[in-house]
């Protein structure tokens, strides 16, 4: 067991936990905007952690530089995609779920 293996396993298990909570949130939360909370945040950090774990496992080469490039790209693109789609819903006047009118929808 090397040190980098341990670090990699820790990162991967953390990211798997976050992926699981994001998926649970996608299934359980009541409406579209709250589901976006789960996927938009959970997937970003989970993907970043697993990319970091893979980069540590692979060592310092040009390939791990590419992995870090994917991480930067996801860090920029994932919130933007979340924003774009929530903006489309907002412009289409999708009514958000509130506590007051809890039961309906």
């Amino acid at each position: 067991m090397l040190v980098k293996d341990v670090i990699c396993i820790l990162f991967m298990l953390g990211s798997f936990f976050l992926f699981t909570t994001a998926t649970l949130g996608l299934l359980r939360l009541p409406d579209f905007f709250t589901r976006l909370h789960a996927t938009g945040k959970g997937d970003t950090l989970a993907a970043l952690w697993s990319l970091a774990g893979l980069a540590v496992y692979h060592g310092f080469t040009l390939t791990s530089a590419k992995i870090l490039f994917i991480a930067v790209f996801l860090f920029l693109a994932q919130p933007t995609a979340t924003h774009a789609i929530s903006r489309a819903a907002f412009r289409c006047k999708v009514q958000p779920w509130t506590l007051a009118k809890g039961g309906e929808k």
């Binding site: 920029l76 693109a77 933007t80 924003h83 774009a84 903006r87």
Partner: protein, 154 residues
């Protein structure tokens, strides 16, 4: 139908992202014989870059860089490059797309000539695929607009 997107976030991010995306697509095209990918995949990513530009910056900004007419010309040129290299091999006495025979024209050994021939064919395929994908996207996305353009030209 397509108006300039007022969304600051998507606009700025795609402004920063499109050049890198095009470079990545060209990398996929040019390294088709070392890594996965090649003409078709690279052409699709290249077209996706232009599609992102259309969606975020509007049609006018894109027409300055690649107009519909240029896309049509590029698709023909791509097919011409592909078929031309194949026919050149045929003329030089081999089979269709038998790149080894290109070494009679180029000052290199047959193995090197084969690599260069594959590169040329991939560039041709990528140009054709990119232009056709872009044209299809524009035709679908601007359903109501073409008639107005025709009227104004007359």
């Amino acid at each position: 139908m397509i108006r300039d997107s007022q969304d600051v976030i998507v606009k700025t991010l795609s402004r920063l992202l499109v050049p890198f995306m095009v470079i990545y697509a060209l990398y996929v095209i040019m390294h088709g014989h070392h890594s996965p990918g090649g003409g078709f995949q690279g052409g699709v990513i290249l077209a996706a870059g232009f599609v992102l530009l259309v969606v975020s910056h509007g049609l006018e900004q894109t027409r300055k860089r690649l107009s519909e007419k240029a896309a049509g010309v590029l698709s023909s040129i791509g097919v011409f490059i592909y078929a031309g290299i194949g026919a050149l091999c045929l003329i030089l006495g081999g089979n269709y797309l038998d790149y080894g025979k290109l070494s009679k024209l180029l000052p290199v050994v047959p193995a090197e000539a084969r690599s260069l021939g594959i590169l040329g064919v991939e560039i041709g395929v990528a140009l054709a695929v990119m232009a056709v994908m872009f044209t299809i996207f524009l035709v679908i996305f601007t359903v109501g607009e073409f008639q107005e353009d025709d009227r104004s030209e007359k």
